[in-house]
């Protein structure tokens, strides 16, 4: 049974978004980390990079396979979580906490309307 915190926004591609002011913190969901299994390598976007919503911006490798991670929103990467490439297992153990990926300064807050709430995401993953 996956954890799906209320109050976050979710992308269909299994990223979560926490909005504070004009900044969004982005990571991957508990469901996504469980599907990926043991994460052994993470590559994050560089600080300062401009991302478009839906753009491939990070890579997560498990023992078995590599997966692309897509930015749910457009904006500039203002902070990356260096702890995650150092300790990729954080993605498995704390997907909504210490395992966050990066923060975006939002280019278009209107894009938030296209994301799912917890209930809709729950329905999508069939939990």
């Amino acid at each position: 049974m996956s954890e799906i915190p209320a109050g976050l926004k979710y992308a269909k591609s299994h990223e979560w978004v926490r909005v504070e002011g004009d900044t969004a913190t982005i990571g991957i969901t508990d469901h996504a980390q469980a599907e990926l299994t043991d994460v052994v390598f993470v590559e994050l976007p560089a600080k300062g990079r401009q991302l478009k919503a839906g753009e491939s911006c990070a890579v997560v490798e498990s023992v078995k396979t590599a997966s692309d991670i897509y930015s749910p929103l457009s904006g500039e990467v203002v902070e990356v979580n260096e702890a995650v490439p150092e300790n990729p297992a954080l993605v498995n153990t704390e997907p909504f906490g210490g395992g966050w990926f990066f923060k975006l300064k939002l280019a278009d807050p209107g894009e938030l309307g296209a994301l799912l709430d917890a209930e809709a995401y729950q329905a999508q993953i069939g939990g």
Binding site: D38, F41, E43, V59, E61, S62, K64, A66
Partner: protein, 383 residues
């Protein structure tokens, strides 16, 4: 429609995540690849290997026929012994790699790869017609009637005797299953039914492979899980099977072996008895040996943190300027916590200790060629 083993329902009850492998629907992961991997290295794990094919060759002509079709020396097999061997085409390319057991004086069991059952059978049938010793033996495909389990790990000897009681009745004669030595085979009894047991495996750990009638497989699997649980036994899927065998540098058909790769290129020359008077592929392999190899299988380990290497990544020389080959198997080693792999490379760059660069998603990462196995158990410290 994917094929399923007699243990399919049991895998589902255990919550396994399933995957397609060689036409079969098999368990990939039960509790987690890393956790299952460590169970095998530190305690014990059980694998469903019922998807593998089982051919039986019987009769006074079976030995000569198999010796003609297989690269290793069949005539050296005593009753109750097994050997790793390869089946080649005329060009010396590998049709399959397999284990051959002499279960009775005139009865052999061939355990072949799941993905190669049809190809192997067709090839052997063709050879039967063209065999110089074309009489006095019979070939049978028992794949559908037999199931098999591999139980592997340093803890297996603690409980295998609680599962398989008494001595063997045929093959290598022992009073207790634990007395079987590496590569030995014996016939035992489990709940009144016959059971073949070999001290073999694909993990680098001590262990046994058990061949059983399909109808008995589930009872054996459940009993094994129950008997082994107090000793740390876990069910293990194909995910950890792959990390375990890659750490040992063992080949997997379709990766290190194929119809256009020879056993010499794959580094399996010790299983090719070129001194036999004849076998299919011998001439081509002799010529290749005299001419020199154009590529060679190596094992490597990443020297710095990187994404895990994967099959078909390019292998570059140490300067990163020249492409010298390709990765055939690559993964993250749970034991070493670093990327490891096997590759086919230019023999000029194949010496132990040679620095390499692996191209992983268009970036180069340093690696080093190692002697196999990639993972070695640390010597046990006396205390």
């Amino acid at each position: 429609m994917l094929k399923r083993t007699p243990l399919f329902e049991a895998h589902c009850r255990l919550g396994a995540r399933l995957v397609e492998f060689g036409g079969w629907e098999m368990p990939l992961i039960y509790s987690g690849i890393v956790e299952e991997h460590h169970a095998v290295r530190r305690a014990a794990g059980v694998f469903d290997i019922s998807h593998m094919g089982d051919f039986t060759a019987t009769g006074p002509g079976a030995e000569a026929f198999l010796d003609h079709c297989l690269t290793n020396d069949v005539t050296r097999l005593a009753v109750g012994q097994g050997q790793y061997t390869l089946m080649c085409n005329e060009r010396g390319g590998v049709i399959d790699d397999l284990y051959l057991f002499r279960v009775k004086p005139q009865e052999y069991l061939l355990v072949v790869n799941a993905s190669r059952i049809a190809a192997d059978w067709d090839w052997l049938e063709t050879q039967v017609d063209g065999s110089p010793t074309n009489d006095g033996f019979h070939l049978r495909d028992d794949s559908a009637n037999l199931a098999a389990l591999a139980v592997q790990g340093p803890g297996v000897v603690e409980f295998i005797g609680d599962l398989i009681h008494g001595g063997s009745m045929a093959g290598t004669l022992v009073a207790d299953v634990r007395e079987l030595k590496k590569n030995q085979w014996g016939s035992f009894v489990f709940r009144g039914n016959p059971l073949g047991v070999a001290r073999t495996g694909y993990t680098g750990e001590d262990g046994f492979e058990i061949v059983v009638e399909a109808g008995q497989a589930e009872a054996l699997f459940e009993t094994l899980l129950e008997t082994g649980a107090p000793h740390g036994l876990k069910p293990v899927g194909l995910g950890a099977r792959d990390t375990l065998r890659t750490e040992m540098g063992y080949p997997l058909y379709g990766h290190e072996l194929a119809e256009d790769i020879t056993p010499l290129e794959a580094g399996l020359g010790t299983f090719v008895a070129l001194d036999k008077p004849d076998f299919i592929g011998r001439q081509a392999l002799l010529e290749q040996k005299q001419r020199g190899l154009e590529r060679r299988a190596i094992a490597f380990r990443m020297s710095a943190r990187s994404a895990p290497p994967r099959p078909d990544h390019r292998v570059m020389d140490g300067t990163g300027r020249q492409s010298i080959g390709r990765v055939t198997s690559g993964t993250q080693s749970p034991s070493l916590e670093t990327g490891i792999g096997l590759a086919l490379v230019d023999p000029a760059h194949a010496a132990i200790g040679t620095p390499l660069q692996i191209s992983i998603r268009d970036r180069l990462f340093p690696a080093e060629i190692l002697r196999k196995p990639i993972y070695r158990r640390e010597p046990v410290k006396p205390d």
